[in-house]
């Protein structure tokens, strides 16, 4: 009996040990690049909006769009319905544009300092160094640093560039699709983004083209006291296919930085878009100081029949995450998917989920959401599935599971389901539980430490989602998950 007790105590002590270890675990992307950056003064007014537009050399129509959005934003209030503790943000205390000055005398090569930064992040900007053949659009603060493989993609007619370039080179396309899925009137942060958005990626896949490589953007916040407002627009024309990846990191700072992005996706007839995110913004320290406020509007419109849009996200970063990648299933027989793993630790707060709006008949959607809460974090799934009356024979399956790794963490599920006809079937299932002690015991018994066991169990738990990620990303995401889990077990 007493041996048993000793064992238990030892086990407890072991657990405590790596808890401490991991608490000391640093955010490995928390460095700052020492690079000369052009930052416009803090504050937000019409002049700032005009200045951003001028700095980017934008046409008149885009400035109009920004101004309209800005005027609309002034009429709105910051929403408070999320299950997060979002302190009021002083929008006048943020600089809305920061451009790293590239020190490249030859005019062709990118700044060595910048290259070092991205190398350190594991994003090589030199094409020849890239083995996996993935095209990257690297964005630091408000500007796109470099987009690789553009020429090779252009041969197929695929446009992959920063949105600022797209505005200049393909104004018709941008004009046609910008704001068509997420209008600036959509919500508070969408209006703000529409007014001050800086850079982001633009992708256009022409009819019948299957994009031969993964496209990817890498977002990096570097400058202090700035916000990042990127805007991504992806258009997949009839019968095309593209897989798009997004990654992000930020330096470790005591202040909170705002990241309010918009991602718009248009999927035409029989086209397919796969959008994967590994979100690893700086989450703040263990006392909850600093970290990124990640307040993002992501939405895709499956406009054509038989179109398909798939969102996959692995969320481990950000002090506050507030985002709902959604699918508007307008085309008949279109399909929407959402696979998410959200891990929160320390004092992180995540309120994330999706919306599946079924407008076309025979549309189907699948939602798989896995939440993992550790430390004193709050992790919520919030989702909506709506089937309108004329959308017959729709199908939705939703599964959202939550795993609690500490007695002080919270896991919540807020789904809304609306069905307005008698031929659609909607299912929702959710479970919340602690990590299975029998499984940990089983692993311990076979010589696997509790920490490794938790890593194994969580990775197994998240496998449904991880398996949807492209290969290279899946490995990365798995590592990230294990890393974030270290010491999260209490």
């Amino acid at each position: 009996m007493s041996e048993n007790l000793n064992d238990n105590n030892k086990k407890k002590a072991d657990e405590q040990d790596f808890l401490r270890q991991a608490a000391d675990e640093e955010y490995q992307y928390g460095f700052v690049t020492d690079i000369d950056t052009h930052v416009i003064p803090k504050g937000l007014n019409e002049d700032v909006v005009r200045q951003i537009s001028r700095l980017k050399g934008e046409p008149e129509w885009l400035l109009d769009f920004r101004l309209k959005a800005f005027r609309h934003w002034l009429t709105l209030e910051q929403p408070a319905w999320g299950h997060v503790n979002l302190a009021p943000i002083d929008y006048q205390d943020i600089s809305y544009y920061a451009a790293p000055r590239q020190n490249n005398p030859a005019g062709k090569e990118i700044d060595p300092e910048m290259k070092r930064t991205f190398d350190k992040l594991g994003i090589p900007l030199e094409e020849q160094m890239r083995l996996s053949g993935m095209a990257v659009d690297a964005i630091m603060d408000s500007v796109s640093v470099r987009t690789t493989y553009r020429e090779r993609l252009a041969e197929l007619g695929v446009i992959f560039c920063s949105i600022s370039e797209a505005v200049k080179d393909y104004p018709d396309l941008v004009k046609r699709y910008l704001g068509s899925v997420v209008p600036y009137t959509d919500n508070f942060f969408a209006a703000l983004n529409s007014a001050v958005f800086s850079d982001g990626s633009f992708v256009y896949i022409p009819k019948g083209v299957r994009c031969p490589m993964e496209l990817s953007s890498y977002f990096r916040i570097n400058a202090a006291q700035t916000g990042q407002f990127e805007r991504t627009l992806i258009v997949a024309d009839d019968d095309s296919y593209v897989s798009y990846l997004e990654g992000c990191t930020a330096p470790q700072r005591d202040e909170n930085q705002l990241h309010a992005a918009i991602v718009e996706i248009v999927v035409e007839t029989r086209a397919e878009v796969k959008y994967s995110t590994v979100q690893n913004w700086y989450p703040g320290d263990k006392m909850g100081r600093g970290g990124i406020y990640n307040l993002v509007t992501k939405r895709g419109l499956c406009r054509g029949d038989h179109s398909k849009l798939s969102w996959t996200q692995v969320e481990t970063g950000s002090a506050i995450t507030w985002k709902y990648p959604s699918c508007v299933l307008k085309g008949d027989y279109s399909t929407g998917e959402f696979y998410s793993v959200a891990l929160t630790r320390n004092r992180q707060m995540a309120d994330t989920g999706t919306k599946m709006i079924h407008l076309g008949h025979h549309t189907s959607s699948t939602i798989v959401s896995k939440g993992i809460s550790a430390g004193e974090s709050e992790n919520s799934y919030r989702g909506m599935v709506k089937v309108v009356q004329k959308a017959h024979h729709c199908r939705n399956y939703t599964q959202c599971d939550s795993l609690l790794l500490s007695p002080t963490s919270g896991a919540h599920t807020f789904p809304v389901i609306e069905v307005h006809n008698d031929t659609s079937v909607v299912e929702h299932e959710a479970t919340t539980s602690k990590i299975n002690e029998d499984q940990i015991f089983y692993c311990n018994q076979r010589g696997i430490s509790t920490e490794d066991a938790v890593g194994l169990i969580v990775n197994g738990y998240a496998k449904d989602v991880m398996s949807k990620l492209p290969m290279e990303f899946a490995v990365e995401a798995q590592k990230l998950l294990s890393l974030s889990l270290e010491g999260a077990v209490g």
Partner: protein
């Protein structure tokens, strides 16, 4: 639309003396607070959080008569009523409009069953201590009920007493549009037992009625309570009912909400699971057809360790019926061993019916087992085909499958004869007949 509360606040201000004269002090004591709430609060409108489908403001908007002067609405009602539920030996209590008739020939089983007015003499302490203690006054509908309530039914089961089953029959029979302010307070002390069957009927099918109900239930240590609430009313009847339950350690409570026929109904269930190892069962079932609107909102608040809650609501919607379900399970910090399940299954059988559902979990303790499941769908076509291939007509097959769908909610009933009766009533309801018992004098 205007704020519907205004007319009630005005009514209270004008008739304050009349309202308070007839009511026990415990009721009058809370009116000031209720008025304070109502002066700033609004009745939720459609689209508000937890009111996606139901507009409370519109429900309270029509000009209903309120029986301020305590006219005896039961005077034309012959209490020769006997419910033919076998082997129950229940004592029926009627509430006609808001006039309560408690028979004086109730066998003495140690429990006190009385109107609030009678309770002033019989057990004033119980009324003073528990009236309004469980209900949430910040809820506008509850505050309105508290502002206007003049009487109610008290069921007090002292320590260790096993009360005989009770039947509470709520009726609307007035010749003019009426709002009834109904109030029930149930206090079951340590190890006490109680079974109560409440049913709402509207024998007069030509008038508009509104029933504002607040039920407060206190389950003491180890108490066992069954509360069955059945609504069988008319499309002209509106009902806004709030159930508040607080449970002490080791208590076991079943609340069963059955809606067989309704007009516009909004039911709120607040379960406060406050004592260790308490067990709560919340069952619900709704069958709604043309012009019917049923909205159940539940909130189970787990604030003690090792408690179990089981919740299941099932709906069958036909024609242009609107069904809504919003359920929340909250597990507060420091409640290890909580085992909670919430289920909501819905059958939508017509193109114009609408179902809104919002099952929620909010969990702040890690050592718990919580789950919820929600589905909206249709009858299994394979099962239908199988039955038809065996010579069962389409309609019969459909009815059989719908009955089977509801069976597990009915099987949760803990009184056998009531279970059988419910199977029978659901069968009739699904076959398109009135969901009434055969020999019920109310429906003659």
């Amino acid at each position: 639309m205007e704020n519907s509360l205004t007319q009630y606040i005005e009514l209270y201000r004008e008739q304050r003396q009349a309202i308070e004269a007839a009511a026990p002090a415990a009721l009058n004591a809370l009116r000031g607070k209720a008025l304070g709430v109502l002066e700033t609060a609004r009745l939720p409108r459609k689209g508000r959080e937890d009111y996606e489908a139901t507009d409370l403001n519109a429900i309270f908007a029509p000009d209903y008569g309120v029986n301020v002067n305590r006219v005896n609405l039961a005077r034309n009602f012959t209490p020769a009523f006997t419910c033919d539920l076998p082997n129950l030996g229940t004592t029926p209590i009627y509430v006609v409009g808001d006039t309560i008739v408690v028979p004086d020939n109730r066998p003495d089983d140690g429990a006190i069953v009385a109107t609030f007015a009678q309770a002033r003499q019989l057990c004033p302490d119980v009324l003073n201590r528990y009236y309004g203690a469980v209900a949430r006054l910040d809820d506008a509908a509850t505050a309105l009920n508290t502002l206007l309530a003049q009487d109610g039914l008290l069921v007090y089961v002292p320590r260790g007493v096993k009360a005989r089953p009770l039947q509470l029959i709520n009726l609307f029979n007035a010749g003019a549009p009426t709002m009834a302010v109904r109030r029930v307070l149930i206090v079951a002390e340590e190890q006490a037992r109680l079974q109560l069957l409440a049913c709402d009927h509207t024998p007069n099918t030509t008038q508009r009625y509104l029933s504002s109900q607040v039920v407060e239930i206190v389950a003491g240590k180890g108490a066992t309570i069954d509360y069955y609430d059945m609504e069988e009313s008319t499309p002209l009847t509106s009902r806004v009912a709030s159930f508040y339950l607080t449970q002490e350690a080791d208590s076991n409570v079943l609340v069963d909400a059955i809606t067989l026929d309704c007009g516009t109904t909004r039911n709120d269930f607040y379960l406060d699971v406050a004592g260790e190892r308490a067990e709560s069962h919340l069952l619900g079932m709704a069958i709604a057809g043309a012009g019917q609107h049923i909205d159940n909102h539940t909130f189970i608040d787990h604030r003690a360790p090792r408690c179990t809650s089981r919740e299941m609501f099932k709906y069958i919607l036909a024609d242009n019926a609107i069904g809504a379900f919003a359920g929340k399970i909250l597990v507060r910090p420091g409640c290890p061993g909580t085992d909670a399940y919430q289920g909501n299954r819905n059958l939508v059988t017509s193109d114009t019916a609408r179902m809104y559902t919002k099952p929620q979990l909010e969990i702040y303790t890690d050592d718990v087992k919580c789950a919820h499941g929600s589905t909206i769908g249709q009858l299994d076509e394979d099962a239908l085909f199988y039955m038809r291939s065996r010579g069962i007509s389409f309609d019969t097959a459909r009815t059989l499958l719908m009955q089977a769908f509801m069976a597990d909610v009915i099987d949760g009933v803990r009184i056998d004869s009531l279970k059988d009766r419910l199977h029978h009533l659901v069968e009739r309801r699904l076959a398109g007949e009135a969901a009434t018992c055969d020999n019920c004098p109310i429906h003659r």
